[in-house]
């Protein structure tokens, strides 16, 4: 499944902007695990996920062509 990946902050230095997910990845929990396995530098970073501009506060299904943002801890202000 192809998704658009929007990595922010320090995750932008680790992740690509589009990704082809293996079939078994169907939700945000699966995506987190897949990303950490594939990009070990991500292990050191806490991050939240937003799917199509909605923060995934619990495990959320990801559909084809979803826009998935990777959000490390905010530090504005």
């Amino acid at each position: 499944m192809q998704i658009k990946l929007l990595p922010f902050g320090q995750t932008k230095e680790i992740l690509p902007s589009a990704i082809n997910l293996p079939e078994q990845v169907k939700d945000t929990n699966g995506l987190s695990q897949y990303l950490v396995d594939t990009y070990p530098q991500l292990t050191r970073v806490h991050f939240a996920i937003a799917v199509n501009e909605e923060l995934a506060s619990s495990n959320t299904t990801i559909f084809e062509n979803a826009v998935v943002a990777i959000l490390p801890p905010y530090s504005g202000g």
Partner: protein, 162 residues
């Protein structure tokens, strides 16, 4: 809540926020005769020490569209909760040098307590809930990713590769 995407009020300001812009916002409220109090907060980039270097600038980036959407909700809640006349928020994007302003919150109300408490609560919400990231650059061109309460002892500096 149905709202056209491009209806969100912009909060982003390219580079450091100019004091003249702050004056302009204040002046705009000089016709509102029901206002009795303005509370303003300005966040300024501090030349914090990191190991033997100092922060020379912060480079801000944001998930802008999501930030505007979240800010729009925060704004509505706070205006209603405190009965404000006005609430304005501006946050820098891009590079802001030490001693320059990167955040400007403005709350206006008939009464002092409402303005002051609303302003403080808005600053808190902006820091905690808006998807904005700061990359701290030192005077030696090293960087680290800002944390909300970065301990000055912990270095974690990285060499610039970009």
């Amino acid at each position: 809540m149905i709202q056209a995407e491009n209806n969100y009020k912009n909060i982003f300001y390219e580079g450091p926020i100019d004091p003249g812009f702050i004056a302009l916002i204040i002046r705009k409220h000089q016709k509102q005769r029901e206002i009795g109090a303005h509370s303003l907060f300005l966040g300024q980039v501090r030349a914090d020490k990191i190991a033997d270097q100092v922060v020379a600038a912060i480079e801000f980036s944001s998930y802008e569209h999501l930030a505007l959407k979240i800010m729009s909700q925060i704004r509505e809640e706070i205006i209603q909760k405190f009965g404000l006349s006005c609430l304005h928020v501006y946050h820098s994007t891009g590079r802001v040098a030490a001693a320059e302003i990167c955040l400007f919150v403005f709350a206006a109300s008939a009464h002092r307590n409402a303005a002051v408490n609303a302003c403080s609560e808005t600053v808190e919400e902006v820091k905690n809930k808006l998807p904005i990231w700061g990359k701290e650059w030192t005077d030696c061109n090293y960087f680290r990713w800002k944390k909300q309460n970065n301990p000055t002892s912990e270095s974690g500096l990285l060499m610039a590769t970009e």
